[in-house]
């Protein structure tokens, strides 16, 4: 489908043949963004990005087909009580679209990302969004603060390729909203796809998006975690714990075990997997136990050459990293924050379940554990 405007201007390209290009009604909707109607973005074809819950990532082309577009997304802020560990510890979470992290939005370099952010009446807090991929207005935070019962639309030009954090940033309460769950990732792919340092294309067969969260849950005098009925009621106690800078939980995707057991990430021998790792607040050092990072963009920005053959990489708090790995051996791989105390005691562990044939050349058990001989 082709928008009327594009047809009139003769700007329709192959890209506008995409299935999800919306009709003229959407073009009228863009006027609510507050940007000038003559904005160059207004002339571009529009598609709707269909967001999915992490660790999954929306369907996307690794190499852009055609020219820049406006990619429309909608996210609803959801304040809710969640359970964050297997001891039933309850946590007053604030989330984008109900998940920690919020969904990963994928666009291509030169596209415009247009987000409709909704804060339903049932919520209790004002929220907004700061896109690290965007330029100006505190990443959009200054233009998007909405109270319960309001919505807003923000559009920005995604001209820097890479994986970038987005997070909530309401004045005076930024860290609390962030450590309550309000962060996610935008991936801006180069139009011609990912490349190694020599310009050779890099492809992936699967992509998983992992958001690491440091949680600060108050305890009572007996050492039991406290439960609250609303985010507001948990605020002052939580702030006390936050100021100690020692998290009670460090988790991937919102809770201990969110990426293990039946929720482990599947893959196959020979498949190449892209791991996106976001840390909205605190540093981490992902490591794939039994594997590597074949190609790692440690700071997450694709205009820089990826590093090769990494054992562990560093994710700065307030950034996202990307790593590509081709699985060569079947089995269970642990994807951990290699501060192993945080991985094993505080929760920062995921598992990749890899099926396929064992490669004896890469590894062989010459002799199983047995008595000491000689």
């Amino acid at each position: 489908m082709i928008t009327r405007r594009n047809a009139l201007l003769g700007a329709a390209s192959a890209a506008t043949a995409a299935l999800m290009v919306s009709g003229p009604a959407r073009a009228a909707g863009s006027a609510t963004s507050g940007l000038a109607a003559a904005s160059p973005a207004g002339d571009l074809p529009r598609i709707k990005g269909e967001l999915v819950t992490p660790p999954h990532v929306m369907a996307h082309d690794q190499v852009a087909k055609g020219g820049p577009r406006i990619v429309e997304f909608k996210m609803v802020v959801e304040e809710k009580k969640v359970v964050v560990d297997d001891q039933g510890t309850e946590f007053q979470a604030m989330t984008y679209n109900g998940s920690m992290p919020g969904p990963t939005m994928v666009v291509h370099e030169g596209d415009y990302l247009e987000l409709t952010l909704v804060n339903p009446e049932t919520n209790t807090m004002p929220h907004n969004i700061d896109f690290h991929a965007s330029t100006g207005a505190l990443g959009g935070g200054a233009l998007t603060l909405i109270n319960p019962g309001e919505q807003t639309v923000l559009r920005f030009k995604a001209f820097r390729p890479g994986v970038f954090i987005y997070h909530c940033a309401p004045t005076g309460m930024v860290p609390w909203h962030v450590v309550s769950g309000m962060s996610g990732t935008v991936m801006v792919l180069p139009r011609d796809g990912l490349k190694d340092g020599e310009g050779k294309p890099l492809h992936y067969d699967r992509v998983y998006t992992i958001g690491e969260f440091d949680l600060y849950i108050p305890k009572d005098a007996d050492g039991n975690y406290m439960t609250y009925d609303s985010p507001g009621e948990s605020y002052s106690d939580t702030l006390d714990v936050m100021r100690g800078l020692i998290p009670t939980h460090v988790v991937f995707n919102g809770k201990v075990g969110a990426l293990t057991g039946e929720s482990a990430m599947p893959a196959k021998v020979g498949e190449t997997v892209l791991f996106i790792h976001s840390c909205a607040n605190r540093d981490s050092r992902p490591h794939l136990i039994g594997g590597h990072g074949d190609w790692v963009w440690e700071t997450g920005k694709f205009a820089n050459a990826p590093q090769k053959d990494q054992e562990t990489w560093f994710v700065r708090g307030g950034s996202a990293a990307a790593a590509i790995y081709t699985f060569r051996q079947p089995g269970i791989y642990a994807y951990v924050n290699h501060n192993l105390i945080e991985a094993a005691e505080l929760g920062a562990t995921g598992h990749v379940k890899v099926e396929g044939d064992w490669n004896d050349d890469l590894m062989t058990q010459v002799s199983a554990p047995g008595p000491i001989v000689g």
Partner: protein
């Protein structure tokens, strides 16, 4: 002295017999109701790890029928009971507070042994942890077989993956906090809360046995720094661990809580019983 057991032997002829005993009058602390385990028999899958050559295989199944009866607590030791040992200066205090009627949790293997020794001194009886065989005997249908799919020798990952899936599917208690006595019901032998959310220490050591595929001979290596805790699955834990809940880093799910249920030997048969269960 075996003739003293004639009554038990007669009861055993009728299949098996479990006799509830009146509370022990000597000391209040041992008022915990007990069942007499006599004449029971079970198909027991050996504990520990078995290798055939380099390849992990399922442990063999043997028939276990103790020659000597013993008594077992109908329920797990409670916080209040353990607290009495703490007050007496014999046991180490628990790390968390809680209602005295709840099962004692946060118990290490060493804590359990210390408590059993104190209780034995207090009552003049011989209290101890059950062996893994004894536990599986009285747990009956509450004991869970841990046989696994052996997989192919060419691809160890098949076994890892199938075990992982099996563990992921396993239904285990969702409630982590210790529950009031009786919450998890009674088994066919009248024992409460077996395989609920509190695992029970046994005296059995972790062992690795290597079967020579050519001769069938078994070489066994024990590690008594690791003991078996029984419950919804058989768990191998370092003896000083009190809280098994620590993330999911290693593959394999830990028990929810650690507690204990003791057995009592019948007076006068101490030496025979000891040698038998020392297996």
């Amino acid at each position: 002295m075996r003739f003293l057991y004639a009554p038990a032997a007669i009861l055993a002829l009728a299949g098996f017999a479990i006799v509830a005993l009146p509370p022990v009058a000597a000391a209040q602390i041992s008022d915990v109701p007990q069942q007499r385990i006599d004449g029971l028999s079970t198909d027991y899958r050996e504990a520990g790890e078995f290798l055939s050559g380099n390849m992990p295989v399922n442990a063999p199944v043997v028939t276990f029928s103790p020659e000597v009866p013993f008594f077992v607590m109908r329920r797990q030791v409670t916080r209040g009971e353990y607290g009495a040992c703490v007050s007496a200066g014999a046991c180490r205090a628990l790390d968390t507070a809680g209602e005295p009627d709840l099962p004692a949790t946060g118990i290490s293997f060493e804590d359990a042994n210390t408590y059993a020794a104190w209780l034995s001194r207090r009552t003049g009886e011989v209290w101890r942890l059950p062996s893994d065989r004894e536990w599986r005997l009285f747990a009956g249908t509450r004991a869970v077989d841990d046989a696994f799919q052996e997989g192919s020798p060419d691809n160890p990952a098949e076994r890892w993956l199938s075990r992982y899936d099996e563990e992921a599917r396993r239904r285990e208690p969702e409630e982590a906090r210790a529950q009031p006595v009786g919450t998890f019901g009674e088994n066919e032998h009248g024992l409460l809360d077996l395989s609920g959310n509190v695992w029970e220490w046994t005296s059995t050591c972790y062992a690795r046995s290597r079967i020579d595929p050519a001769t069938g001979q078994i070489a066994r290596h024990d590690n008594c720094g690791v003991r078996i805790a029984e419950g919804a699955h058989r768990a191998y834990l370092t003896s000083f661990i009190r809280d098994p809940k620590s993330g999911a880093c290693s593959v394999g799910r830990p028990p929810t809580n650690l507690g204990m249920r003791l057995v009592r030997e019948e007076k006068g048969f101490l030496s025979g019983v000891r040698s038998f269960f020392g297996l």
